[in-house]
Point group: C2
Chain length 201, copies 2
DNA sequence: ACCGTAACACTAACGGTTACGATTTAAAAA
DNA sequence: TTTTTAAATCGTAACCGTTAGTGTTACGGT
């Protein structure tokens, strides 16, 4: 039950990467729909069952590092400066994430996603998971916690900001525009900071 | 090219309904995953290909009337009283829709959806379509139009409100809570109407 | 009465996904 | 070392949603 030290983990990670690389290469070259799972497995020189032991679905091959996304957002909340307000911290992280996915190097992947309905659909359900995770992080890492509904709402709004900004003509400006709206929404839900005379019902 | 009036349309609608009814009956009785497309087709006494000419996918059998949803939202925007502000009109419609889907008669269907990952996933991508349609309606039916990004953002937020409220412990209260946030977000994006004493930071 | 076409049927296949059982291989135990 | 355990991989065959291809029927317009 001790920590399995070393080689096995490395080999597994290597196999995973080999599969992801092969998949991306084939998808970008021939298109997502034109490439079958069996093609990817052959290109990566693994069995189909092995492929599915590393990735839950064909779409997951494309969004290989979506766990990073989830963790970065959560950490932007839980690991922020002691008294830094929530929304600006999230805005900074979303800015970074949008810059990252609109970089030239990432462009072909996102073009592939935009062109493939199955991938867009998958992305959406993925975002839902991210929103839930973020909502949990928000509810946990907050002094004066608002409603559970408010947490989930803001989490959704933040994820929406990412999705919408990614597709906007000027992604950076879109992030700022949407976050002005989120800021206003958050102040209504959680009137802290300069304590307005608590408009209690 | 004239409107094909009559029997043919009725028969087609009847077939569609027969399929939807059979599907729902089987799904509710045995569970979504335990029932195959071939089972549904047999129960409805149609060919599999006929089934797929009426419904685009297995999941679409469950969300049979999702076009209503889309149209109701669009009409809540375009068909509202001349000078009625946008957000309250949307809030009223979302209230009605939430009441509708949390009614006792609809409970079994939504329990089925909640229990079935495939259906939840499908619902999400469906909501995305609805948000896009709503964004278009908002951009069209608005005097002083804000940014395209702002329209899409508010549309998303409204759809989020529906999704979140549906799952909340007290759906009606959740709608109100979330719409207070949406209202604030909207005023930031589109500062018109009666300018409330703007609680500036 | 006749034609165009929309609706439906049937078969066969494709492609993502999984169950199953066998086999290898790293890591822990003896 | 040797033995043992469990994880990782493999190969096959199948399941199931979905679609293509090909007819057939029956309604509606002329």
């Amino acid at each position: 039950m001790t920590v399995p030290s070393g080689r096995r983990e490395r080999k597994k990670a290597a196999t995973r990467q080999k599969i992801a690389d092969a998949a991306l290469r084939l998808f970008l070259e021939h298109g997502y729909d034109a490439v079958g799972i069996r093609d990817v497995a052959a290109e990566a020189d693994v069995a189909v069952t092995t492929l599915f032991s590393h990735f839950a679905s064909k779409e997951a091959l494309v969004f290989e590092q979506d766990e990073d996304f989830e963790q970065r957002l959560a950490r932007a909340v839980t690991g922020r400066e002691p008294h830094e307000p929530l929304v600006p911290a999230l805005r900074r992280e979303i800015h970074a994430l949008v810059r990252h996915c609109t970089a030239d190097s990432a462009a072909p992947i996102w073009r592939l996603v935009d062109e493939t309905p199955a991938l867009r659909e998958y992305e959406e359900s993925m975002r839902l998971r991210h929103a839930e995770a973020l909502a949990t992080a928000i509810a946990a890492g907050l002094d004066a916690a608002p409603t559970a509904t408010a947490c989930r709402t803001i989490a959704r709004f933040v994820i929406d900001a990412y999705s919408l900004a990614r597709e906007a003509a000027d992604p950076e400006a879109a992030v700022d525009e949407i976050f002005r709206m989120i800021e206003a929404a958050w102040e209504v839900a959680c009137p802290v900071g300069d304590p307005a005379p608590t408009a209690g019902p």
